[in-house]
């Protein structure tokens, strides 16, 4: 106390501090349960695992100004991790501290109401995100401008193509200036022109935000724009480190698993073929 700390000892200003995260899913409570199925589940106690850990023992920190990429195969728990950081899912184990205002750009256009116009959907999205309506009205022209939908902005969303929806979603999601930005695979939306525009926007946000956590399958993005990367597999961290190293390991491992899958397939095909040869 009171002793001046040298810069080396000073606690780094964390934007995100995740300690020993664990998220467990109750398989009995999966979607579309009815009273009947849940009674049946109560009676049949012993069929298979009841729980599934989507994330386990995940710890990491994001320092101010840092951009962290989460990569990994499908079902590795990447999206679950982002949901935890965004505060949508509460972890069953461990803790997450996110300092400042978080903005999550998870799947774009999630809250769109197909019957409302593009303009009204911008207002609705702002209300969902908890942005004050006056602030939203101020941002509205900018969002409309960036989405560049022409007269369609006043037509109902159900007349939009999927690319137009994505453009509007991206424009809304990036119109906020958050302290911590959470991005889930939003870099590949729209046509080439819009993609270039959105890439530029993300880079600007990256510079402005205190911290970024993003999930992407675009490995060049990871190596170009991220300071650090985490490889997630089966809900656990396999490697954390420099983007180039992590991407390399990820590519090696996915290549290996692809070969393994192909060998397995070949083996099965052979097993099916053999008896037919014998009979034929």
């Amino acid at each position: 106390m009171g002793t001046p700390m040298s810069t080396r000892d000073a606690p780094p200003p964390y934007a995100v501090d995740a300690q020993d995260l664990g998220v467990r899913y109750n398989l009995r409570l999966t979607r579309q349960t009815t009273v009947r199925t849940s009674f049946r589940n109560l009676l049949k106690r012993s069929d298979g695992p009841t729980h599934f850990w989507a994330l386990r023992n995940v710890s990491f920190r994001v320092v101010h100004g840092e951009s962290l990429a989460i990569i990994g195969p499908n079902g590795a728990g990447k999206s679950t991790l982002l949901q935890v950081l965004a505060g949508i899912i509460r972890p069953n184990e461990g803790s997450v501290d996110v300092i400042g205002h978080v903005s999550s750009l998870l799947t774009l256009g999630a809250g769109f109401d197909p019957d409302l116009s593009g303009r009204d959907n911008i207002r609705l999205a702002g209300a969902f995100l908890g942005i004050h309506h006056r602030e939203m009205e101020e941002r509205l022209p900018g969002i409309v401008d960036f989405a560049d939908l022409g007269d369609f902005i006043d037509a109902s969303i159900k007349t939009y193509s999927s690319g137009m929806r994505a453009r509007l979603g991206f424009s809304i999601a990036t119109a906020v200036d958050p302290d911590v930005l959470i991005i889930d695979e939003v870099l590949s939306t729209g046509d080439a022109v819009f993609r270039a525009k959105s890439k530029k926007r993300i880079v600007e946000l990256t510079k402005a935000a205190k911290g970024i956590v993003l999930v992407t399958h675009d490995m060049t993005w990871v190596t170009e724009f991220c300071n650090r990367a985490i490889l997630l597999e089966g809900g656990r961290i396999v490697l954390e480190g420099a983007p180039a190293d992590v991407v390399k390991l990820h590519q090696e491992r996915s290549e290996r698993s692809r070969i393994a899958r192909e060998e397995e397939l070949a083996r099965r095909v052979a097993a099916v073929d053999k008896p037919s040869e014998a009979t034929g």
């Binding site: 606690p11 849940s38 209300a127 969902f128």
Partner: protein
């Protein structure tokens, strides 16, 4: 080894007490009233704009329903009451609001599955807006009501009709509590809608909507006492008193119902808030 100064945690692991949960729920509703407003507007837009006659259906629907019940009761069951169409209309109007609030409340959370999994926002706003959209519908219902009185029952013009808001407030609190309860439950048991469809119909016929409480209590005292416990008994009787009979609503039972509804609302808020963290995972 120096431990870093603990960052100010946003998500606290500590469990809130029941009272804190309820307070938080109400705070969230108030702070997100703008969202509720947009959702109500979107809902109205959906129900009005896309049909051939638009909002005209809102006026026709209760009238057509009234015709059905009048035919059913006065022609088939041969029960005669003076100005029976108006008698029935007094019940149809508030009941439509209630059944819409319950039915829309049931799907209010599950139909917003996608945004719940993508954005952190207080989902408690959803059943609130479902209940609120019914208010607009209810208010629209006064157009055919007033028309009915002026054109066919001019001798039933009473100033007591202005007391409707007092009855409606009690109904609102009661409906909101039910809507919150079913909204959260439907996430875990998706067949609540089937139960509600039949449950609501049964409830309507068991309540003094098409008949009076006195019709029952004259025949059986115990049945009459049991019916007095039905929350819809004071509501229907009060609506009818102020619109059809031109008398004061039954203030006593209404006050009791308001007190009970407020307790129910607090419990429903608690129930909703306790289950809310699981929504994103289960949906």
């Amino acid at each position: 080894m120096s431990t870093p100064t603990p960052a100010r945690p946003i998500r606290v692991a500590r469990r809130l007490s029941s009272r804190e949960f309820i307070a938080e729920g109400f705070r969230e509703i108030w702070s997100r009233r703008r969202l509720a407003r947009y959702l109500v507007r979107a809902d109205l837009h959906k129900h009005g704009a896309d049909t051939f006659l638009g909002n005209v259906w809102w006026l026709l629907d209760p009238l057509l329903q009234m015709v059905v019940y009048v035919v059913l009761v006065s022609v088939i069951a041969r029960v005669s009451k003076p100005d029976y169409p108006l008698f029935v209309f007094c019940a149809i109007l508030p009941w439509k609001w209630f059944s819409t609030a319950v039915n829309d409340g049931i799907s209010s959370v599950t139909s917003r599955e996608r945004i719940i999994k993508q954005v952190k926002f207080p989902t408690i706003v959803l059943p609130v807006s479902a209940t609120l959209s019914g208010v607009v519908n209810f208010v629209f219902g006064f157009i055919p009501l007033v028309a009915l009185i002026l054109l066919f029952f001019p001798h039933r013009q009473f100033a007591t009709i202005l007391l409707i808001p007092f009855v409606a407030v009690v109904q609102f609190v009661f409906s909101l509590a039910i809507a919150m309860f079913v909204a959260a439950t439907n996430v875990f048991f998706r067949d609540i809608a089937n139960v509600a469809r039949h449950g609501l119909r049964l409830w309507f016929y068991l309540s003094p909507a098409l008949y009076e409480l006195s019709d029952v209590s004259e025949r059986s005292q115990t049945l009459g006492t049991l019916m007095a416990l039905n929350p819809w008994t004071p509501l229907f009787e009060s609506y009818r008193a102020v619109i059809y009979e031109g008398t004061m609503p039954s203030w006593g039972p209404l006050a009791v119902l308001l007190a009970v509804s407020l307790v129910m609302l607090a419990l429903a808020t608690l129930y909703f808030k306790r289950l809310e963290p699981a929504f994103a995972k289960v949906l």
